[in-house]
Structures are given as C-alpha cells and as structure tokens.
Symmetry: C2
Subunit: 295 residues, 2 copies
C-alpha cells in the first residue's frame, strides 16, 4: 500500500512544535524572534508568498516585519536597508523575496545579508558550512523541507541510496550536500544527475530515495522508479487540464498516477514539499534568534 | 594498454605555464604574486611541506614569505598575524600549514583568513562559492589537482559517471561539488559513497571515473573496477614492505598491480595526485594576485 506523504499535515505538526518553542522562548527571555521580509516591486506571485510568510509568522508568534519597496528602488537603497537590518539587534532573520527587478544584482544583495541572519540559507558562507557539516548555519528552506520529509518517512537512512535529479543551487546541490553528511538525519550514498545525463532512468531506478527537482511536468515515469522507493517530488508545473478544456492544473515532475502504484511513499503536488518550505523558514528564524542570543 | 598517469610530468607542464604567466605579470604590472606560509611549531612532516612550497614558489618566480612561529604561539597571536597579512596589500595568498598545535582552533584560524587570500580554499565562503559555481573563489588544492588529472585524461566529461569514495571536507566533498557543475571541465553525474556504504563495489563498478580518497591501503581491488575506467588514487598509506623485511613503502587506496590491468588510465602512488597539489596552490596564488589587482 503506497503512502501518500501529506506535506500539509507534517508542516502543521512542525508548526505546533515551533509555536510551543516560541512561546517558551518568550517566557524565558522576554522576547520573540523577528523575521524581516523585503519585497521590491509588485510581482503578483511574490506578493502572495510574502503574505503567506507574514501570516505563518503571526500564527506561530514570530514577529513579522514586512517592508515593501517600490519597483524603482535602486540597488544601493536596498543595500542600505539591509545594512540597517543587519545591525538592528531586534531583527533575527532577513529574507529578500526573489526574483528582484532586473536592475538589481541578486548575488550582491544576498551576499550583503549578515550570514547569521540569512534564514533563506542562500549566502555562500551558509552553503559552505553546509558542505563542511557545520551546525551554526542555515539550510535553504526547500532542501531542508525535503530532508524533513525523508527523515520522517525512511526509518534508517544510513547507507540508503539517494538519487537527486536536478542540480539547481536552491534544491539539488544543497540537498546532495546535506544528505551525505555523517549524521542520523543523512548518511546516504548520494548520486546527483542532471541535463547532461543520457539515461536518467539508469540512475533513478537505483534509488531507495528519489528526489526530483527539475521543473519538467511528468518527467519521471513508472519504469524509471524502483518498486518500494520513497519519492519526493519538488517540481511544480502548470499544465493544461485535459479533463477540463480551457483550464490548467498543477503537476509535479513525477507522473504521480503511475509512480504511486509502485513507490512505497510519494509526495503529491500540490500538498507535498510546498507546505514544508515556509515552515522550515520559520524554523530557521527561531534558530537565528537562538544563535544571536547565544541560547 | 593501460596508461599510467604521470602526475609529476603533468605538474611540471603546469609549472612551466605558471612560470611564464608570472614572468608576464611581472613585466606588465611590475610586481609578482606573493605567498605567505605560516608554520606553527616544528612538526617534521609540516616542515618538509612548507620547505617544498617555498622551493616551488621560488622556482616559479612567486615571492615566498615563510613565517615560522614557536609551538607555544597563542591563538590570539596567530590571529593578529593573520589580520596583519590580510591587510598587507603585498601579500596575495595566506596559507596556514595544518595541523596546528592542539591549543589553537583550526576553524577559527581558517575563518580569519580573508577569503580572497585563502589559496588553500578551506574558508567556508570559498566552499560555498564552489557549490554555486562562482568563479571568483579558490578550490582546495587536492581536489583541484584531481580535476586537472581527470580533465587531461578524459576527452569528453559530459555525462560521465564519476564515483568518489570518501567524503572528507578536503577531498571528497569539494570534488563532488566541482565535478557536477555545468561546464566543460566537469558536467559529470556524481556519486559519493563512504563508510556507511555496505557494498562499495556496487557503486565503484559503475564508475567511468573513479576517485578514491579514503586512507585505507589497497582497499579497491580489481573486481571493484569497471574495465576501461580512469582511476585517480588520492590515498597515501605507509605499510610494511613484504619484499624488504623491516622496511616500509607508500601505497595508495587502490591495489595498483591488479587494478592497472583493467583500468584505461590510473595514477600511481607516489607520483600521481601528490605532485599536483603543490602546483595547484601556486595556480591559486596567481589567481589571488589577479583577483586582488583586478586583472
């Protein structure tokens, strides 16, 4: 019987844990974590994401500082704001909603965030610490959420073969580095394959745990998956809904209907990895609060 | 016919390239790269390494600044020296010879080196940039040397399956991150296996390119290697020489005699990866000079 991994339910469990944690921190230290979220311009999707982050923060008792800047904001104005937030001891996490308008260099902005407040985990120093396995760093939210789903669905990770399809800087590469570390939440043999792979199925069929983060609708078919594998689908693709002419629907990178017949556990899209991302951001914000207050 | 990869000859080729490069830089800009090497205490092996670095620097026209400190040097004295070297515009590369005496925290020392002078590539920010594929960073010398040997012995790397045995912070992990990048000197499907792997041979037999960095004498046997594979042996192990009672000899992690029967190319130990390491350090020093002088 295939288990459908309910990302929303798991995210809710973790939310409850965080909520308790925040309440306890407030009681003991008289203050709560604060997350600053910066939105430049008025991209529709970004506005939705920022609103969700604010809502989740408030739900968990985390202070939310939302800063909305005009599309025309210059790079140096944004840098100035980041420097102010870096030195504001009341702000624990700083997140700049991406993408930024094209006249602003995203790398320069990300590198300007104090690494100890970089709750998105995109600063190179946090990525580097993740490679070394250093604990005082932030793991970016999507791979962190994938790890959480894997840990909760694979009892003994040691020596399991994890195959990742896709080598993006925000999912595939950090996840590979997380999962090969020598600790109980990792310790996998990791293979990462990508666009240069002529026969993806050769690798994916070996996976005890398969993570797909490519952005190509229904790319992974049943014959590419080992029976009994745990499948984590990071892709979110909007395609035409053949059953409802003129309408669209969201699907993952994995052909859910057929792969769910042979996987032991699989995430649906939507409702799998998606709900985890925002919750891991909250977890990072609490961690930032702890690190900065040396708790 | 198996090719024995002559690391010494390749290192010499690269040395000639660097020597020309340094001479040209001096002619055009009136100055040469400078490498500062710090040795704390008088560990015998470290003294040899530092002397080799000095000798190679001078051979290539690179200024060598060797600083030898007493075993009793405190961490804060060492930090003070590093800060001075960081702000000295005449110094382009800073290398602290490891291991340090036990009363000094290596991580604190490495993190204190200005990343733009970190020619050993151990600073987390350089590791993080390596994950992202950012070009303004330093790759640590041993994996960089492995990459160079691979590039020179595998005509078309795209889509080749590289299997790495060993997940150390100084070889396995950085090499995995280098070789999965999307560029002509990489673009491999990468698998990394390690102590938690129950059947190492299952993975190594799949390798088009096999890199072993474990530190376990003769661990990889013929039946663990695919015929025609390119084998890079990073291990250096001293064992008893059975043919010369009472004497020892150096061997790699790969059982050279038998694996060389089926590999298409293989590095010997010594004389394979070893000679490359120091030459890549020199390459990094020249790169540091270029980055700092915006050339």
């Amino acid at each position: 019987m295939t288990k459908i991994i309910d990302g929303k339910a798991i995210a809710n469990e973790i939310k409850q844990e965080i909520k308790k944690d925040v309440a306890k921190l407030e009681q003991e230290y008289g203050k709560k974590p604060t997350l600053a979220v910066i939105l430049v311009g008025n991209d529709g999707a970004s506005e939705v994401y920022v609103r969700m982050k604010k809502k989740t923060s408030e739900e968990l008792g985390i202070n939310s500082l939302q800063i909305t800047l005009d599309e025309s904001t210059t790079q140096s104005e944004l840098l100035k704001l980041i420097h102010e937030l870096n030195s504001d001891t009341n702000v624990n996490g700083i997140l700049v909603q991406l993408p930024l308008p094209s006249h602003i260099d995203e790398n320069i902005i990300i590198n300007a965030i104090d690494p100890i407040k970089d709750v998105d985990g995109f600063h190179p120093i946090n990525l580097g610490k993740l490679v070394i396995g250093s604990d005082d760093s932030f793991v970016s939210c999507t791979p962190y959420g994938c790890q959480e789903l894997i840990v909760r669905n694979v009892p003994d990770l040691k020596g399991k073969h994890l195959v990742i399809v896709g080598r993006s800087n925000i999912v595939g590469k950090p996840l590979a580095n997380i999962m090969l570390q020598k600790n109980e939440r990792a310790n996998c043999i990791v293979t990462i394959c990508h666009t240069a792979t002529s026969d993806i199925g050769y690798y994916t069929r070996q996976a005890d745990i398969l993570v797909v983060a490519v952005g190509k609708a229904n790319m992974i078919t049943k014959n590419m998956v080992k029976p009994g594998a745990v499948v984590i689908d990071v892709g979110i693709n909007r395609i035409d809904d053949l059953h409802n002419p003129g309408k669209t629907k969201l699907v993952g990178d994995v052909k859910f209907d057929e792969v769910s017949e042979i996987a032991s556990a699989i995430t649906p899209v939507p409702g799998g990895v998606g709900p985890m991302t925002i919750v891991m951001l909250m977890k990072n914000t609490v961690k930032a609060f702890r690190l900065q207050n040396k708790i």
